[in-house]
Every structure is written in C-alpha cells, then in structure tokens.
C-alpha cells in the first residue's frame, strides 16, 4: 500500500502533509514518507530523526482453546517453528516474537473475561462497578496501553489513534471492560469503526475531495479563523459547564475537551504549500453478506485503509478488536454454525471448531501483516516499524483461564524487538512485562508499567533486541 507520488522538489521539512479542505477549511494529513525526506541510507529522516514506530493491538475473544500446544510453538528460542494455530503467520515468522507461559496476575480482578482483557490491555486491575441487574460490570481504571502510547506520541500526527472493529457482536451489558479494548479511562471506551469506507472518510475524504484546485488562500485563512472561533466557543462552554458539575462529570468534560483539541490540531495552516499526494481510493461500503458478518471483507478493507493511514503517518497507534471478549461471533466463513463464546463452553466436541477459529483468526491477522510488510518505508517496511500486541481475554475460554496466556508481538518495533523473532517461554511470568517492553519500544521512558499485582519494573528482555 505504499503510496508514491511526485512532489515538488524542495523545501519540505519532516512534517509534510497532504492538505485538503474539510468543513470549508484546510486540513492536513501526513504524506507517505517519501524517499527524499530520508537520509541517503533510508534509515532516518534527512534531519536525523529516526523513522517513526507504530503501535497496534490485535485482540480476539475467548482464547485459543483448551490445548495450549495448538498455540505454543514446540521449540523455544531461535529454533521455533509456527504451531498449528500460528501456521497462517509463517510468511512473517521473522517479524514474530512469541511469549508463552505468562499469566495475568491481577488477584483483585475476578471474572476471567474481564480480568484477562484489562490485564493484557492495561496491566492493572479494573474497577468493579455496581452491576444493577447484570451479572457483573467493570471498567478500566486507567487508559489501555494504546492510549498510554497515544498520549505520548499521538500529538505528532493528525489522529492520536484509530480504533477498528471486525465483529460487531460484542457484549454491551457488563461495562466497558469487555465491550471495548481501547480506553481513555474509566467509562471512556473508544468505539471502533466497523466500516472501511467510513474509516477512510474520517481520514481522507476531505483531502481526497480537495485535491486539484487551489482554493483562494485568503478565503481559506478566513475560514480557518471562523472554524477556530467555533471551536473556541465550544471550549468556552465546556469550561463554564465544568465549573457547575461534580467530580465525575469534570473527568467526562475533560475528555470532551481533549477530543475538541484533537480536532483543532487537524486544522491546517492556510498558508502551507499545497502538495499533491496520490489521491487515496475510497473503498466501497461493505455489501450485506446473507451468510453473516462480513469478517473477511471487513478485515481486508480495514487492512488497506489502515496501511494507508500508517504510511501517510496519519496516526501511529491503532487497535483492532477482531472479536469481542465473551462474545458470540459466528465464524461462518469456516463453516462454524454457533457463536464462539457458546462453543467455548460446549466441551470436547467443539474443540476442533475452536481450534479452527483461532487458526483462521490468525489468518485474518496475516492479511494486515502482509499489507504492512509490503509497504516499504526507507530501508524498512511498515511491519518492521510496527509493534502489534496480538492477544486475547483468556487462554482457555472454557475455564476462563488467564494462565499461559496467548501473547504474540507482530512486527519488530523499528528494531526494538528481535528479528528474527524468538519463542520465549516464561512459566508463571507476569504478562505485564510484555506491555512494558511495548511502551519502551515506542520510545516512552517508563520505569514501570501496570498496577496492583500486575505492576512490573522489569520488561520482557528476552524478546528485545
């Protein structure tokens, strides 16, 4: 998906953006990192800044199945070969680091699905909430790892992060912990986008439409000022309302304010030079699939848009909820006729279906990895520049177990992780160690990560280069 385009030959600094007009005002979107921005070796920008690293999450629900040997490679260290469930990822083996044996060590977070979700995505206990009539309800106590990273690196790009969903069948009645994977904080989940065309629109629509004619710069500058006055007005209203509300609402309004600021950040400078990015192509809206959810079509479309967004440096952080925790997607493309969560509690007879589900889920992940690997960036590629946490809410969903949790890092984090990757086995190890490795891979100088029993000061050095 790497986009090449001809660009006027001089004067472009590191931050060159595709520019367009949105809401009647200029907006900016990053350009693909073209060769001539880079130094002669293609290893960094001409000004010496390293190629950016990207972080992603790929999450699926209900674990790998009962038999760990279907997921864990037989051999450890360098000599590992993909297990049956990881076989679809064999083409990308050098970019994979597999961590087995670790567990989510949050003794204060009961409930398997909730515990595994919050543990693998934030390393800290969730907040148990008043459930009302529901069996259980919880929310994240703090941000999920993608938002921790987005807070640190997101201001460098037009979008702090992008959230993508593949299966819509998620559990909505037990709080945000198992409904969303991306969290800004308590009761503040980021709803994913399910439609590739709408994700495209969110990022590219206005710049795609705005290409060609150069609008009158004076008008653009005026429009920009007016746009700013609208946002200023909203910011002012949030501020005055904030003085009247209680403590919890102040947190909610702070998040609202943050969101307005992100929109504000995207307002371009009307005086910036206009450059012609190869106009990205909008995917079609997904057609209804009478057989069920459009998993394959959606994953393919989202992989295209996401690879483009990363190549254009629109964002450096993303998360993909392939399927929901404790949820019941019906994987009809592989001839499975019952919901995945239901199957996880159907006993021995369903183990083959669960095994095929996990293998197929990795095959779907492979679609994205393939796009990223083929997107060249200098002497690297997007897969090499990315670190994608691939994990689930449980290891064995039938027992709601979070022992020997499935953890995979796809992508080499721009050289932070071993390449070729290894299989590291650490029986009973604290799974948060991997999260600490990931935030450090993204350049965050963190001494520790997680909370409660999940807190670590030691990262998973065995997979670090």
């Amino acid at each position: 998906m790497n986009r090449r385009s001809s660009v006027p030959g001089r004067g472009f600094a590191r931050r060159n953006f595709l520019r367009g007009v949105a809401f009647g005002v200029p907006v900016v979107v990053g350009l693909p990192l073209l060769e001539y921005f880079l130094n002669s070796n293609g290893t960094a920008f001409a000004d010496g800044e390293a190629l950016p690293r990207r972080f992603g999450v790929f999450f699926w629900g209900n674990g790998r199945g009962v038999d760990a040997s279907r997921w864990n490679p037989a051999a450890v260290g360098n000599a590992w070969q993909p297990s049956p469930q990881l076989a679809p990822l064999a083409p990308y083996q050098s970019y994979l680091n597999v961590v087995s044996g670790m567990r989510v060590q949050l003794s204060n977070s009961p409930q398997g699905h909730h515990k595994g979700s919050v543990g693998m995505l934030s390393g800290a206990d969730f907040i148990t909430q008043e459930a009302g009539n529901a069996p259980y309800r919880s929310t994240f106590a703090g941000p999920s790892i993608d938002q921790t990273i987005a807070k640190a690196v997101g201001a460098q790009t037009p979008f702090g992060s992008l959230e993508i969903g593949i299966s819509k069948r998620v559990i909505k009645g037990e709080g945000t912990t198992i409904q969303f994977i991306s969290h800004n904080g308590p009761d503040s989940g980021n709803q994913p986008e399910y439609e590739p065309a709408l994700l495209f629109d969110r990022i590219f629509k206005d710049v795609a439409a705005g290409g060609g004619n150069e609008p009158d710069p004076t008008l653009l500058a005026s429009a920009r000022e007016l746009e700013q006055s609208v946002l200023d007005s909203i910011v002012g209203d949030i501020g005055s309302l904030k003085q009247r509300v209680g403590a919890r609402d102040r947190v909610r309004l702070d998040q609202h304010l943050t969101n307005i600021r992100e929109i504000e950040r995207r307002l371009g400078d009307g005086a910036a030079p206009s450059v012609q990015c190869s106009t990205p192509t909008r995917p079609d809206m997904l057609a209804n699939n009478p057989a069920g959810e459009q998993f394959v079509e959606r994953m393919a479309g989202m992989s295209d848009v996401l690879a483009l967004a990363l190549a254009c440096d629109v964002t450096r952080v993303f998360s993909i909820q392939f399927s929901g925790s404790a949820a019941d997607p019906v994987f009809h493309p592989i001839d499975i006729g019952n919901g995945n969560h239901a199957l996880s509690h159907e006993g021995e007879a369903a183990q083959d279906e669960l095994d095929r589900s996990t293998t197929w889920t990795m095959q779907q992940l492979g679609v994205l990895l393939g796009k990223l690997q083929s997107a060249v960036e200098g002497d690297s590629n997007l897969l090499k520049q990315s670190a994608i946490l691939v994990t689930s809410d449980t290891s064995d969903g039938a027992a709601h177990s979070v022992n020997d949790h499935p953890i995979l890092i796809a992508g080499s984090g721009g050289g932070y992780f071993k390449n070729p990757g290894v299989h590291h086995e650490q029986e009973g190890g604290n799974s948060t160690e991997v999260l600490l490795s990931l935030v450090r891979a993204l350049g965050i100088d963190a001494a520790e990560f997680g909370g409660g029993d999940g807190r670590v000061t030691q990262s998973c050095t065995a997979i670090e280069a």
């Binding site: 009961p110 919890r248 969101n259 159907e346």
Partner: protein
C-alpha cells in the same frame, strides 16, 4: 424460596442460598451493595450490605442522594432534538455512535459515558450537515431564519430563539454575545449573513449545553434539598415522557415560573401523557427496558433459520412495541402484557407464529393459537430471539432475562476456573437433558437453578421463536417452577410470571432508573417502594406509574454536587 413472600425477602434468600457462597468465592459481593457509579478502588465494590434492589426498602430513606450527572442525549434524543430545530433533520445522514448501555439501560449509560474522539467528531459533522443545509445560501438562510440574514437584528433574534430551543433554556447574555460575534465575523470575513449564521449555529450545536442535559439542580431554600430549576424540570419531564426536548408550551411555562404553581407540573405530565409524542417516549422506554433494538443486529444461522430476515427482525421489535404501547395507552393492568393471548402481527410474523389469514406488512391484532402455549411478552419472537444463541435456544439466557430484566434480580457471572462445558446433542437430545449438569453440579446449581427452570419452560420456542413440539425427535417437556408456582407449559409460565409480586416492583424500579438516569440509591428506596405501592393501588396502569413518578417531590430533588 418455596414460598415467595416479598421481593426483598426473596432476594435476600437468593443471596444467602449460595448463588454467592460456594460459587463466587471472593468476588461474590458484586451482585449488590450500592456503590456510586464509577467509584470504588479496584476490587472494592460491594459492601455486603445487600443488593441495591433489596437494601433499605421499607426502612425509610437512608443516606444522601447521589451527586447529579450530566446526561448525554441518547441517539434518539439527539435526533429528536435536532428535528425540533430543523424540519429536514430526518433526511440527514448522521453517523452517530451507539449509545452506551450501563446497568442494562441507555438512560444510565448516558449519565456515565465519556465521549470518545470519534463520537465528538460525529457531533461536529452532524452540526455541519444541519447548519450547511439550513444556511446553504442567503435565500435558503433567510427562509430558514424567517428574516433577512443580512440584518444584524435578524441574526440576533434568530440566535436568541434558536439557542433557547437548542439549550432548552434562554441563552445567557455572554452566550448570546459570543454567538452573535461569530455571526459578525462570518459576515465580515466571508461576506454574507448565511455563512455567519452557519458558523454560529455550529457553535450552538457543538456546545455541551446542547449535547448534554445539565439537570444538575440549584441549591434549595434553607433546610430544603437541592432541586432542579424549572427549566431542568421541564427538560427531565419532556425527555422522560416524549424522548424529546420540552415543547413551546412547557418551556414557556418553565421560564415564566408557572411550573411552580400547584398542580402545574402534574397538569403538564397529564398533557404529555395524552399527547401524540407519548408514542416516542414509550418506544424509547420499552426499547431501553427490553433492548429491543438489538433484534436487528442478531445473527441466526441462515441454514437453520431461513425465515430470519431483516424485515422479520424489524417486525419482531414492532410487535413488542405495539403491544406494550397499546397496553399503556389503553390503561389496562400492565401485568396483562405478560400473559395476554393477543398480539400484533404482520404477514411475515404471522407465518412464523403459524397464524393464517394475515397479509401484507401492516400489523393487525390477532389471537394466539392456544395449542402453542404462546402467551404474553415471553412468547414474543423478539425476546425469544434475543435471548437465544445463533443456532440454538438458551434456557439459561431466557431464565436470566426473566430474573434480571423482568424481576430486577442479579445473577452473578460464572466463576473463573470452573469447567463450563456441556454435553452435546449426540449425548443428550433435549436442552433439559444437556442442562442436567447445571442442576447437579454444585458449582453450577446455585445460580442455574434460578435461571434454567424458567428458560426450560420456553423450550417449545426455538432460537427465533418458532413453535416446536419436539427437539431431536424427543417431545419437549416444558414444565418447571417459578418461585413456588409450578407450571406445565409456556402458557402457565406466562400466568405465573404475570402474578409474580416481583414483576410490578421491578417495573417501577426500571421506570425510576430510566427517568432518573441512574440506579436507585439507598436514599431512593422508600420512594421506589411508594411508587410500587401506588402502582398497585392504581390497578397497575402504566400511565399511573409514570405520572406517579413525576407527581412526587422526589422528581425535582437532586443530591449535592461533589
């Protein structure tokens, strides 16, 4: 539990009987215990003081009311509010985010959820869509504003009126001045009044004063509780009963102080209960109560259920809404909806139910075939489909629905590290056989005894609610027991449910949660108890319950802002 004496005792017994003890271990207290939303350190929830549904009832108010919360407009409220401002709003293509559902209700989610960046963008985009159409050019803008948009006096008057309707209160002087200055800047920089008003309207529609209902109250007179201001009362009343903003009469009355006159609020409630807008209010209440909208996002295995089409899913929701709305407006004993032998069907739904003689997409009232045992709400395909899996029915989900949603009783989630696998169809033909382990394994039986026996009474209805006499060749045994009432068929289950004392109690709790946008706190228990008693004394008319909620001092009381 053999003899169900009262909801409170019943629930306490439920807790003691070990749907916590041997099953939940350390995490067992999350079923109940009032904890302020969002509060509590990790793992600290639940005080063991009993469930929120049981604590405090009959013992008088205890503790202070919880702090009031901003209530984000739900999707349907946002659309209704937009429609009150723009006649063309229904034609706009908006990509609003889904409502958050907390404690089973969107109404509670809206009081708690923090907006995501994407949701905020969606509101900005919606504001742009609406404003751009209303002020597409000078002629269009002038027609929309009703005066010449080039005239500052026109713009000023328009902003005052539009802003008041958008914020459900008159604009403050500084707000008016700010929006007018945006208009003026638009005129100055881009040269026409329509552009100026477009930007001003976008600032209004993007404001938190538009997006949230700030029913936060004002300090009461000395020694009296904090209470909603008159315009906040108007807003709470209007969104409760019509799921939309206060109409002109109500807003005018509130702003003139007339709502404080004796009987004025009751009169407005009575007016809205008789207005056509009640339909919107009822649909929103029932959609929230029963999560009916989820029928359309259900997935059923096509090879097994070719009848389950998108139009059938819509019809299922429509059937339930029609029946409930009719029961509300015709002022019958609302418990009758749980065992009625009549319902509304169109042709597609009639075919599913095996009823002949109905054609077309219009709904008609029909009598249900006696032989199927299909009766009342639990016999409706909407709820039978939602509370089932993609391929098979689920006695557990259906029983859980009855306990949680219809009786307001909490059921804990399955404990961790318990093997939850069931035998498959090759070993056991019917669900009753497959679910035997739920009744015999002590790890399971504590909770599943509360759910499965109810759901097994609905096994004559498959995963999309079609009647069946047999499963895998075996005759279905639909007998069971609901809190001391034995039944032999779904029809008898429906009768037992309609007589269950927990049913009206839970309905009044649900109405309270919906209208207040939060769970009841211990301080609310006496009021909720009184509501239930009045509901009973009023022959269980739903409109009586709704007006009873409004015509009480509690409707306007709020806790202190923390």
């Amino acid at each position: 539990m053999k003899h169900f004496t009262s909801p409170v005792v019943g629930l306490a017994a439920l807790t003691l009987l070990g749907c916590t003890g041997n099953v939940l271990g350390g995490g067992g207290d999350e079923v109940g215990g009032y904890v302020g939303p969002g509060s509590g350190a990790p793992g600290s929830a639940g005080t063991g003081s009993g469930s929120s549904a049981g604590a405090g009832a009959g013992s008088g108010a205890s503790g202070a009311l919880p702090a009031p919360s901003l209530r984000l407009l739900t999707r349907t409220q946002y659309r209704a509010t937009l429609a009150s401002l723009f006649p063309f709003a229904g034609e706009l293509e908006l990509e609003l985010e889904d409502d958050a559902i907390f404690n089973g209700l969107r109404a509670i989610g809206a009081s708690n959820v923090a907006l995501s960046p994407k949701a905020t963008e969606a509101y900005q985009a919606a504001a742009l869509e609406a404003a751009s159409r209303a002020f597409a050019d000078v002629a269009t803008g002038t027609a929309f504003a009703g005066c010449n948009v080039a005239e500052p006096a026109c713009a000023s008057g328009f902003i005052a009126d539009f802003g008041r309707r958008a914020f459900r209160r008159s604009l403050a002087a500084d707000e008016q001045a700010r929006f007018l200055s945006i208009y003026q800047a638009g005129v100055q920089k881009l040269g026409d009044g329509a552009v100026g008003l477009k930007y001003a309207v976008r600032a209004i529609l993007g404001s938190p004063h538009f997006l949230y209902r700030a029913e936060l109250g004002v300090p009461g007179a000395a020694g009296t509780p904090r209470r909603l201001s008159d315009v906040q009362v108007a807003s709470k009343l209007a969104y409760f009963l019509s799921n939309g903003p206060p109409d002109a009469e109500l807003l005018k009355l509130a702003e003139s102080g007339g709502l404080q006159a004796a009987g004025a609020l009751a009169a407005q409630a009575a007016r809205l209960l008789g207005a056509s807008s009640l339909q919107h209010g009822m649909e929103s209440l029932f959609d929230d109560y029963l999560d009916l909208a989820s029928v359309s996002s259900l997935e059923k295995v096509p090879s097994a259920f070719p009848a389950f089409t998108p139009t059938l899913a819509l019809a299922m929701r429509q059937e339930t809404l029609l029946g409930l709305s009719r029961a509300a407006s015709s002022q019958v004993d609302f418990r009758s909806v749980f065992n009625s032998n009549k319902t509304f069907v169109n042709q597609e739904l009639a075919q599913l139910y095996g009823i002949s003689g109905v054609s077309g997409s219009a709904f008609v009232e029909v009598e249900l075939p006696a032989a199927s045992g299909r009766r009342g709400l639990l016999g409706q395909a909407s709820l039978l489909s939602v509370n089932a899996h993609a391929a098979v029915s689920s006695p557990t989900l259906r029983g859980k629905f009855v306990r949680q949603v219809l009786l307001c009783q909490g059921i804990p989630a399955p404990p961790p590290n318990v093997d939850t696998t069931l035998p498959d169809a090759s070993e056991a033909a019917t669900a009753r056989e497959r679910f035997t382990v739920h009744r015999t394994d002590p790890n399971c039986s504590g909770c599943h005894q509360l759910m499965d026996p109810i759901g097994l009474g609905l096994e004559n209805f498959d995963a999309i609610g079609q009647y069946r006499a047999t499963e895998n060749g075996q005759t279905i045994d639909a007998s069971g027991e609901l809190d001391g009432s034995a039944f032999q068929s779904p029809a008898q289950l429906a009768d037992a449910l309609s007589r269950h004392p927990g049913l009206p109690t839970c309905l009044s709790r649900t109405v309270f949660r919906y209208a207040w946008g939060r769970l009841e706190s211990p301080a609310d228990e006496a009021f909720v108890g009184a509501l239930t008693a009045a509901f009973a004394g009023d022959q269980y008319r739903l409109t009586g319950l709704l007006s009873g909620a409004v015509n009480a001092p509690e409707f306007v009381n709020v806790g202190e802002v923390d």
